[in-house]
Amino acid sequence: MVFMPVPLLSVLNLHKRFDENPILKGVSLDVEAGDLVSIIGPSGCGKSTMLRCLNFLEIPDAGRISIAGVTIDCQGLEDAPPKDIQTRAHELRQRVGMVFQQFNLFPHRTVLENTMLAPMIVHGAKREEAEANGRRLLEKVGLGSEFAHRYPAQMSGGQQQRAAIARALAMNPKVMLYDEPTSALDPELVDEVLKVMKDLDAEGMTQIVVTHEMRFARDASDYIVFMEGGHIVEISDEDEIFTHPKDERTRQFLRRFI
């Protein structure tokens, strides 16, 4: 008997085009709970678009997305009323946290308020509750109470990105998505962000990371997805893909990093 775990996140045959440009040409991927998956590939390969489709910042043209019990069949969504799409996207986003390359913290709010805003507005959390939770999460990403009342502009990029992770965690996501989380950072600040992600992995958080950080991908990932030209070319064990890539295109891509 073969044990078949139900994946926490499942993407089936996802398609997305911008105008007449196909970006995703049928992408399928299963991610199990607790996994940390890195998605690598040359720029323009569709990896960011795929990530953004996962919480409907981009609306897919076709395919199926299923995350922690919410399934959206994207076939013919462009004809569905926008309200319908938004309600379903909203459900999906409840289960997914997202971290952006440019942090996108709310600059007019303190770091603590950044973590409190969404729980209070979306979940109607009480202020004290949201504040306690926010402080706890900031502490967890290494931002002690002295940072709570700072504004984003008063912090380094690494601190801002960690705060952005805390902000996403405040919504109790089942899956965390990272869109090149360290690309906008000075090299010496990269590690503090990656450490937070490793800690989360150790706690069993499911994470999908689009990254150019090959060292991190190799060290921390459970497996690596290589994308090119709107397809997933290879899914491999983190060591194997670097030592014995199966596909010629993967080999070409990785050659530049090693």
């Binding site: 986003r93 996108n104 913290l105 969404a118 996403a168």
Partner: protein
């Protein structure tokens, strides 16, 4: 509680001003001697003021004065802003089509005034090719327009026409004899010339169809004439001429000495020293205070309206579905593309034609607010578009709806961005509020007109009013800058606090 009740009943009584014992009469008192004008102590006086007071007394009504601009006097009747107009209005067939007239209360002619030393003129035909000043909507203007080749120039205030003649800007002024007698005769640089031109009768104008009031008015007027009171009034004002006497059927010689005329001439001949000028301005402070408060009130309420409507328009334009977007754009283009003054006129004088009558204050605020809304909308639109897309994406990714993202994330950030241009517009609106003097409100610019035409000190009054505008605007500029600094958290350095005056810190 009791006091409130009294206040409310007063308000009600005021609201129901059509209730009888009041006679609401209108005139344009700015540089309007000897008709109805404010004397240097800012009290209403003039022969028409005395006549309408005498008539009202005989009608057992309390006269209530309503100020309006000359051009708006007749339209104001139609708007039911007042019951009658008495302001040297000549009875002509064209005007008789627009309003009802009482019987004439004064009969006079047009007097030509030219610069001292100009060769005598005996006929209006000699004015061909010359520029002649006069007022709008007068018999004099009709006369001038009938002579080919005369270039008639209309002025808002007669003093300005005479001043231009004295300064050689125009050849002369053709205006009613009383005006010439009061404004031109005392001026050593001007002289009367030519015979009396034409004959004109002044009548009190009433709203068309108001025949009951017309009848009541005529019998009161007849009593004022028959009792000799009219002759007394006109004699004191130096206006009792054989022409009037004949027309009203009274003895030719004046019944009293022309004390009012003498006093007017003496008051204006006096050379004002700097000190007496200052004293005179000091005497105007209640008027200036009231005018400044009105300007402030109109501007603030107008700006609140502009900001709220502009904000809605911007949201419609940036985030609305296409019909709303299109509507907002249409509104902005139309309002921005047409002059504010015309919009004010339409709101105040035009809307009553379709049954919407607004008080001058409401009309002024609406005009300014709706006009500035178009500009504010564009400010907000720019502010909203300046917020990076990632902000909304982050809000959506956190599970906020579009609306929540808009109100909690995007709009608060754009507020700081639009503050400087909005402050700019407020200052601009503060100054444009001077246009509400066109809809009968006595704001600072209205006060300028009144004071300048009473003191003939255009320069000093101008400086004074300009200074008041400046003083009113400054605190708002400061407040806006302070708020802006306070909101600029996304640009603040660690440890930096917002301050009203960001002076460099001094070491102790």
């Amino acid at each position: 509680m009791r006091r409130l009740a009294v206040f409310l009943s007063l308000l009600l009584a005021f609201g129901a001003q059509a209730a009888d014992p009041v006679l609401r009469w209108a005139a344009d008192p700015d540089s309007n001697a000897p008709f109805a004008f404010f004397d240097p102590s800012n009290k209403l006086t003039g022969f028409e003021y005395e006549i309408i007071t005498a008539i009202a007394r005989r009608m057992n009504r309390t006269p209530k004065f309503v100020q309006n601009d000359w051009d708006g006097l007749i339209p104001g009747l139609g708007r039911d802003l007042y019951d009658v107009v008495i302001c040297g209005i000549e009875i002509t067939p064209e005007k008789a089509g627009e309003v009802l007239f009482s019987n004439p209360y004064y009969v006079t002619f047009e007097q030509l005034v030219v610069r001292k030393g100009t060769p005598p003129i005996t006929s209006l035909d000699e004015l061909k090719g010359k520029q002649i000043g006069t007022l709008d909507q007068t018999a004099a203007l009709d006369m001038l327009e009938k002579i080919p080749g005369v270039e008639a120039k209309t002025y808002d205030e007669e003093v300005n026409a005479y001043q231009d003649t004295a300064n050689g800007r125009i050849f002369g002024v053709l205006l009613d004899y009383p005006i010439a007698k009061y404004y031109a005769a005392p001026n050593p640089n001007l002289q009367f010339t030519g015979p009396p031109f034409g004959q004109i009768s002044y009548g009190i104008a009433l709203r068309k169809g108001n025949t009951a009031l017309q009848k009541e008015m005529n019998s009161a007027l007849a009593e004022v004439i028959a009792s000799g009171e009219m002759r007394d009034i006109l004699s004191r004002w130096g206006l009792w001429t054989p022409l009037v006497a004949g027309a009203l059927g009274q003895p030719e010689d004046p019944s009293l000495p022309d004390t009012e005329y003498k006093a007017f001439v003496a008051g204006h001949a006096e050379q004002a020293t700097c000190w007496t000028r200052m004293q005179r301005y000091a005497g105007y402070w209640p008027l200036l205070l009231r005018a400044a408060l009105l300007t402030l009130e109109v501007s603030i309420v107008g700006m609140i309206l502009a900001v709220s409507v502009g904000f809605t328009l911007a949201i419609m334009r940036v985030f609305g579905p296409w019909p709303l977007r299109w509507l907002a754009m249409l509104y902005i283009e139309i309002i921005r593309g047409t002059p504010l003054l015309i919009q004010l006129y339409i709101i105040f004088y035009g809307l009553p034609a379709v049954g919407i009558k607004l008080s001058p204050f409401i009309a002024g605020v609406l005009g300014l607010g709706l006009n500035y809304a178009a500009y504010e909308a564009e400010n907000y639109r720019a502010g909203l578009l300046a917020i990076p897309r990632g902000q909304m994406e982050a809000a959506r990714a956190l599970g906020m709806t579009h609306r929540q993202g808009l109100f909690h994330i995007v709009i608060p950030q754009s507020f700081r961005l639009v503050l400087p241009p909005v402050t700019n517009d407020f200052i601009s609106l503060l100054k444009d509020s001077s246009l509400v003097s066109m809809v009968t409100l006595l704001d600072l610019t209205g006060a300028y007109n009144r004071i300048a035409t009473q003191t003939f000190d255009y320069f000093g009054t101008g400086l004074l009013i300009a200074a008041i505008y400046l003083l009113i605007g400054l605190p708002f500029v400061r407040l806006a800058r302070y708020t802006e600094e306070k909101l600029a958290v996304d640009q603040r350095k660690p440890g930096q606090k917002p301050g009203l005056f960001n002076l460099p810190k001094r070491r102790k």
